[in-house]
């Protein structure tokens, strides 16, 4: 297990008197919006990073903005920590309860308030599921582009908090590029309305600042997202390569040619072998790596660009580069990719999904270095990732029942992230920092930058009640973690020398 919350290293407020907390909350919330019994709270103990658990003091499920404001007021008065939670699918422990906190679940605020097909906008409550937006927009020929793997379950509020990504984000942008307005309740009880129907707004860009702020600055109670016209047609090309390095080269060449795929995904041998066993997608088992390159748009453009992609892949050394013959084969190619994570269950009892980003040009050498680290730590690593934007998802395979393996998996994960930083990259592409990567923030940022984050946090939340101990480490934590900051490509501390 990674670090427990530590009052010396994490800025946790003292747990308030629980009885008083419950009495105050029950005055402002209907009965169904307040859960105080342990068995009812159990489901809120963890999020998608299931190795971590914690019990809140109480769970609240407000039904509207006014109830959110009322909960925050009680917490402010009593000095209680507040941890917001969407669908609980996050992978970095962002919704992990801190000791004595009020868990604030947004699941009851799940209405789609408006679809405006002329302005191409949808206005939704934070508990609305990601895929539900696209479903509601489909009759108008529109969809919501950012598509995390968990899109069936994850909520828009959580997407905003983590600035979620997905396969389509290479072409259509991350959550921050598709959110156009937010209603936010701040810790001092103010309701901010940021952005809206028009594209630009004066003043500081609070909309971008709140997006990806991981529940540290305010509670999002309404979201206006941009909808994108459904493409006329979609096609996918599968390319197989004898060497991983060649696949990396093809990625660089496709992007370098000015082609912007709707998705450009890579799987290495271990990942594609497991996926093929799981899904029978028709992946070539003799390949060292495969690419899936999806293009969407007008049929004539796609046909033209697919031929260019095929040529690029062949020049890079592909042994196979073929276009899905029909829609059902296209779906099958993607089913293999989407099933790659669960497919890991065939080759190991547990896996730990890492989320680093690197400059595309560093792809081949970072894949080599991950392989070296994998041998060094004695744990297999499968790679399935958004190659087009350099967003790696190494899956570390381990057995939680084997003594020490979880710890070794976490140490290997940390080493991979610090490798990404050393190569000019970043420790998270779409999963957020949360509790999981708080120590790696010390490698990503210099003290001056961390201090700026902290000053910003204080500006919004002077008591430090919103999701404390997450995302932004204290300088003391960094000192204890022993990490010094490295700036891109100039590693200056010893344990990175091996890269």
């Amino acid at each position: 297990m990674l670090d427990r919350f530590d009052p010396r290293l994490d800025p946790l407020p003292p747990a308030p008197d629980r009885g008083k907390l419950i009495r105050r909350l029950s005055r402002v919330l209907p009965r169904k919006a307040l859960i105080v019994k342990a068995e009812g709270m159990r489901v809120f103990e963890t999020d998608g990073l299931a190795a971590y658990r914690g019990m809140p003091a109480v769970v609240t499920l407000p039904g509207d903005t006014e109830e959110v404001r009322a909960v925050l007021e009680v917490c402010r008065d009593l000095g209680a920590a507040v941890v917001a939670r969407g669908a609980g699918t996050g992978l970095s422990g962002g919704a992990l309860p801190v000791p004595g906190c009020v868990l604030l679940g947004l699941s009851r605020m799940s209405r789609i308030l408006d679809i405006d097909p002329v302005a191409c906008l949808a206005r939704v409550q934070p508990g609305v599921r990601n895929l539900a937006v696209s479903e509601a927009a489909r009759p108008f020929g529109l969809f919501y582009a950012p598509d995390p793997s968990s899109q069936l379950a994850c909520s828009l509020g959580g997407n905003v908090a983590e600035n979620a990504g997905g396969v389509h984000c290479l072409k259509y942008g991350l959550t921050v590029n598709n959110v156009q307005g937010l209603e936010v309740v701040t810790m001092d009880g103010e309701i901010l309305r940021l952005g809206g129907e028009t594209l630009d707004a004066p003043g500081f860009d609070l909309l971008a600042l709140l997006t990806g702020s991981e529940g540290l600055l305010g509670i999002v109670t309404e979201i206006t997202v941009r909808l994108t016209p459904l493409p006329e047609a979609t096609q996918v090309l599968l390319a197989a390569f004898p060497e991983t390095r060649q696949a990396g080269q093809a990625v660089a060449d496709i992007i370098g040619a000015g082609i912007i795929p709707a998705g450009l995904e890579m799987m290495d041998k271990l990942a594609l072998t497991a996926a093929e066993a799981h899904t029978r997608a028709g992946y070539p088992l003799d390949a060292a790596a495969i690419l899936l390159c999806e293009l969407d748009g007008a049929p004539a453009d796609i046909a033209c660009d697919l031929e260019r992609v095929r040529g690029i892949c062949e020049s890079a050394g592909a042994s196979l580069a073929r276009i899905a013959r029909d829609e059902s084969e296209r779906q099958l190619f993607w089913a293999g990719r989407k099933g790659a994570f669960p497919a890991m269950g065939r080759i190991a009892p547990d896996y730990y999904c890492i989320d680093g980003v690197i400059p595309r040009r560093a792809l081949p050498e970072v894949l080599d270095a991950i392989e070296r680290l994998s041998r060094e730590f004695g744990l297999a690593v499968a790679n399935v990732f958004h190659a087009g934007d350099g967003n790696l998802h190494p899956l570390i395979l381990y057995d939680a029942q084997a003594p020490g393996e979880l710890e070794r998996a976490e140490a290997l994960g940390g080493a991979i992230l610090e490798l990404c930083v050393a190569k000019g990259g970043s420790i998270t592409g779409e999963h957020g920092v949360g509790r999981e990567k708080i120590n790696q923030m010390c490698a990503q940022f210099a003290p001056a930058e961390l201090e700026t984050f902290a000053a910003l946090k204080r500006a919004f939340d002077p008591q430090g009640l919103l999701n404390p101990g997450k995302a932004i480490p204290t300088l003391q934590r960094c000192v204890d973690h022993g990490a010094m900051h490295v700036h891109a490509a100039t590693p200056s501390f010893a344990h990175l020398d091996r890269f």
Copy 2:
């Protein structure tokens, strides 16, 4: 003239002892980097909003990041206000000197540090001209997309400070969507490195926060921008309409059809008449409004989409919809548009350019309302604007020599901006708030939102030295201005009832 700086309403620091300031600065700057004589400082008295003037205490022109830091250190020690300036082409008075300030000009930091054609990135100093980036990138088949009209002269540092736009931003995004990294010196002397070669970064989105922060949060000393592949081909269609309303409808229909033009510009009768007299672009003088719709990409796609655009324009009632017959006619069509502002000199001695944004669907009614306001204030208004993203540029025609006309022009400008807010829009699309629109911020934002801006400002600049009296009004100013906040589409104060 709009309000003078007023120590009661604007948070200006007291002017420091000028002799001491000069002595301290001369110790940290080379002789050429320090201007203290009035005749040398005269050129820095004003920016593109030339109706406002002010003399700084001293002008500094640091040559590198270290000198910028040294200047800020002196200002911090002596409590001097700091006003940053790029090329001085800004239209909202962002670089207007405040009384007793140190003007910090970035013009000597004008080197292109690196062009990386593989990663499609350019790393530049803040004084580099916008167009120079595209010129340097052209040999690699790349360009820098955001293109303010002033792109020949304006600097990247200024573009970042104002989150500058331009004709191409409809398709390629504003500055904030094209900046990938910043080096920033903060008022407390820290050097922040934000973003970089990879697309996402953990922590709060300081990159977006700093972009468009109008010199209030820090001084940008290095910028990494994304470069875009030059399109294979470019074409433009000119459509003429008997009624302005029809042109507005065509804009909505083009966007609604999922076509994303590289530029979609509208000119009304007054503007196109003046432009035609100035440039002889071949605009039809019997039209009430014209649209220029530019498409770029692969030749086959453009041909297909241009026919769709032509059909849409004709359905909306266009009396003419024709594609430029060759590249020289295309250039001529644009020359008319680009010359539209100077062409105003033919019909009035002076003009005042407004920069409001509205939801596209409100275009026809807002144009009607502007016409009513124009009659009410007795000043002609020509409209030339980025129709595709709802970014209006009403040009108010007046004569500065005629007593009271400048004041009337400013009052009309303010009324137009408040109209934009009342229709769910915003008071600036690309020019920034600066000094010009500080009172309209009171209409745009509620006190809670303004207080959040102020808290953020304090987090970066507790002494309030960076560009004081700009962009973010004090609550006292809003009380004095008599404006109350209206939220989109629900005007609640009397003087807006007429809309």
